[in-house]
């Protein structure tokens, strides 16, 4: 297998631009319908989530799935009509209720009313998450700040190890991966009501770290090839660098994605979408490193008259490798 990156770059860029556009459109639709580009979860929007599991072992009360209508009745009595409800678990025995932020004095009567009407619920399997609106905002700001800072850190490090243009193109590829991942979750939010929480920001940051890793490996090879054959055109150098690192890119993506697939299949509900976000981001990252970041570098060098690497700075910037 030999890929011809430069020749078919129109195709690769077309795919990328198409995916980015779809993502942006999905986020725009989400913005119109939900008031945010992605459906904000409890962490960011604030509120209370109660997850209750029916006590099936101790009592034989689990012959039928929970009735949402009964739950709505109880919620209505408590003045919480606008809450959203979900049944989870294989036998639909887990009830998840998302309401506005409840104080402990509002929550306690709700829990006992539910326990009486539909329960009994197992206190050992209860999960309560309450996030005040202020905290939600803090988490969002902190998350976005972390994302920006790590972008800046990566630009700084890559400028130091390579050159500024490598760094900026790598960041462009990163933005591509982040936008596509966000787009997929915007669509999931619109279609399945999937919400994003602070773990989603974590997954974006991890994607950033990983995908830049991919790009770095290819750029590293480009730099090495330039040094080995100073007379070659940048297009040829990039082409062979991508092909030389292709097996590694595929294998590494595979070995990192395998455990994630395992989490999607076996993991608990909290981690499922986290792992899915990582898979989407890693695949997008592998794609952008191979097809976008490399071809952009070639184009950029060509346009700025650096198609032939007679760049003394770059030769000096070559790091001292040691074994």
């Amino acid at each position: 297998m030999k890929l011809n990156i430069i020749k078919q770059r129109g195709l690769w860029w077309g795919i990328s631009i198409g995916l980015v556009l779809v993502s942006l459109v999905a986020m725009a639709i989400s913005w119109q319908q939900l008031g945010a580009p992605l459906k904000p979860g409890l962490d960011f929007a604030g509120g209370t989530r109660l997850q209750l599991t029916r006590a099936c072992v101790t009592t034989d009360s689990c012959t039928e799935p929970l009735e949402l209508a009964d739950v709505r009745q109880v919620l209505g009595d408590q003045g919480l009509d606008s809450s959203s409800l979900q049944l989870l678990g294989e036998d639909q025995q887990v009830l998840s209720i998302r309401t506005r932020t409840l104080t402990v004095d509002e929550r306690a009567p709700l829990q006992s009313a539910l326990d009486e009407a539909i329960g009994p619920f197992d206190p050992g399997s209860t999960q309560i998450d309450t996030v005040g609106p202020v905290v939600g905002k803090q988490l969002l700001v902190a998350g976005l700040l972390a994302l920006l800072v790590s972008f800046a850190g990566i630009v700084a490090y890559m400028s130091l190890r390579f050159k500024l243009d490598y760094a900026l193109l790598a960041i462009l590829a990163l933005a591509h991966d982040v936008i596509i991942t966000a787009g997929v979750f915007a669509i999931l939010g619109l279609v399945l009501g999937v919400e994003v929480d602070s773990l989603f920001i974590v997954s974006l940051l991890t994607i950033v770290g990983f995908s830049v890793n991919d790009t770095v490996v290819i750029y590293d090879r480009v730099r090495e090839n330039m040094k080995l054959s100073p007379g070659s055109h940048i297009n040829d150098i990039v082409d062979s660098a991508v092909n030389q690192t292709l097996a590694r890119s595929i294998n590494t993506s595979l070995t990192t994605t395998l455990p994630l697939v395992a989490i999607v299949i076996f993991g608990g509900p909290t981690l499922k979408y986290f792992a899915l976000a990582l898979i989407v981001g890693f695949v997008a990252g592998a794609y952008s490193s191979i097809f976008v970041a490399s071809s952009l570098l070639a184009l950029w060098r060509e346009r700025t008259g650096q198609a032939y690497s007679d760049d003394p700075d770059l030769a000096e910037a070559q790091p001292e490798t040691q074994s």
Partner: protein
């Protein structure tokens, strides 16, 4: 090859040491895995105190710590978070509603006069209380650090806590209720007197000063005490000298002296000030996970981790042959080292933390993949096996370094800005990345060179199936 034998020895020792660490030092599990409540408490400024400073936050923390102790949760943690929040972790708390109610109220400091004729009773009750407290402290000191205990110990602790609450009630009953509360106390300052002794000065506002004069007048010279209560627990019970029997202690200020050391005086100062703070606190975040739910999460995540690791191991062995098998060994050593590092550094393992660990397994492979791909290329370019392996390591190094540093930069940003669970993920991933570099560059390397020093392994086909010398820019699928 002597060099690699020595390295092999080092690796063996480290691996055995990690196994010992893993079996001896228990893994600390986060509340999301073992069950429990994590509350974020925000201190609200008031008109009187518009900005919360370090001093106020410290005082509130002391009050909250006192309340947490009252809840009887072993291994509870109270930490300052930012400049106006406290993070409270209550492992295995059985009644999150009660905890939230108790922690969320404003502190109740009260100065109460002792009832007549209760001198002996107070002494006895206090002795009983101190006995319980001492026993509880001694018992808790013997507990293993992961908080696991057998049901007998648990029962004993529960009993002691019930006894303590009962004793505290009994003590409180010996005092008359009063209206002199913390809102009328303006300050408390610990200061040294002569020699090594310390005292605590308290300062009331004018209304409080008058009430304090009344109370002190009533008990001066009787041998009875003024009980200073915080959230219904007796902090201190000073007596008042007979010379104040006429007027009481007037002027709104008093000195509590006794056998205070610098430390105990400072404790009382902070407790008084915390009780004096009319700062309302509010529980702004509550994350409670039931204990069985947590156990279920661990199990599922462990299955996922083992399944993921298994798939990776199989893939490596099939695709890379002998080096793949060696990398698998290095990978298992990697997993052991990382686990041991978690236990050793006291990393609290949360659900995202486990995800970070699983992810780092996938990443640890990357360094090996880079090295082996390079080795293959060199072999295909017609170099000898030894030279190929050598330059595989040599030339993959800069990619490995750059890739890992950029991941570490992301981890750093996550750790610095993230809170709680996010921090756990960043830390476990970062530890994983650092250890993976070490194992790739030492374990895999040592095993590879030892393998090619043995004649039966010195066949290039074990390293690169179907080897033909080809142009270096052709990579086989």
């Amino acid at each position: 090859m002597a060099k690699y034998r020595a390295w092999l020895g080092v690796i063996l020792v480290i691996t055995i040491a990690s196994v010992v660490v893993i079996t001896q030092i228990p893994t600390r599990l986060g509340l999301d895995l073992r069950g429990g409540s994590q509350l974020t408490i925000q201190v609200q400024p008031t008109a009187a105190i518009p900005t919360i400073t370090e001093r106020e936050l410290e005082a509130v923390q002391t009050v909250v710590e006192g309340r947490v102790n009252g809840l009887g949760v072993s291994e509870a943690v109270v930490q300052q978070l930012g400049n106006n929040q406290l993070l409270v972790q209550l492992p295995g708390v059985s009644d999150p509603q009660q905890a939230e109610r108790v922690l969320g109220g404003t502190a109740q400091l009260e100065f109460r006069a002792q009832r007549p004729g209760t001198d002996q009773q107070l002494q006895i009750e206090n002795q009983v209380l101190q006995g319980h407290l001492g026993e509880l402290a001694a018992l808790q000191a013997t507990l293993p650090s992961n908080g696991e205990m057998n049901s007998d110990t648990q029962a004993r602790i529960d009993k002691l806590q019930a006894d303590i609450t009962a004793s505290e009630k009994a003590v409180a009953a010996l005092f008359e209720p009063s209206t002199l509360g913390g809102d009328k106390l303006t300050d408390a300052i610990a200061r040294p007197t002569s020699g090594t002794l310390w005292e605590v000065v308290i300062q009331f506002n004018s209304e409080g000063g008058n009430e304090f004069a009344e109370i002190s007048k009533a008990i001066a010279g009787t041998g009875r005490t003024i009980g200073i209560f915080l959230d219904n627990r007796l902090l201190s019970a000073p007596t008042v000298n007979v010379q104040y029997a006429e007027t009481g202690i007037t002027g709104g200020s008093a000195v509590i002296s006794g056998n205070f050391t610098a430390e105990s005086a400072r404790d009382l100062e902070i407790q008084l000030r915390g009780g004096a703070l009319p700062l309302p606190v509010e529980v702004v975040e509550n994350r409670t996970v039931g204990p069985t739910l947590g156990r279920d999460s661990i199990q599922r995540s462990l299955y996922a981790g083992i399944a993921g690791l298994g798939l990776v191991l199989v893939f490596m062995a099939i695709y890379y042959r002998l080096p793949g098998v060696l990398a698998d060994i290095a990978l298992i050593i990697y997993a052991l080292l990382t686990w041991a590092a978690f236990n050793l550094l006291g990393v609290t393992l949360t659900l995202p933390g486990i995800a970070g660990f699983i992810l780092s397994i996938g990443m640890a492979v990357d360094a090996n993949v880079l090295i082996f791909e390079r080795t293959r290329e060199e072999l295909q370019a017609g170099k000898t096996l030894y030279r190929s392996v050598e330059s595989g390591f040599y030339r993959a190094f800069s990619s490995i370094l750059d890739g890992n540093v950029t991941t570490l930069i992301s981890c750093l940003a996550l750790f610095y800005f993230g809170a709680g669970l996010v921090k756990g993920f960043a830390l476990t991933l970062a530890i994983g990345v650092i250890i993976s570099m070490f194992t790739a560059l030492t374990c895999t390397r040592t095993l590879m060179f030892l393998a090619i020093s043995l004649p039966q392994f010195r066949r290039p086909s074990l390293f690169c199936p179907g080897l033909t010398t080809a142009r270096p820019d052709t990579v086989r699928p």
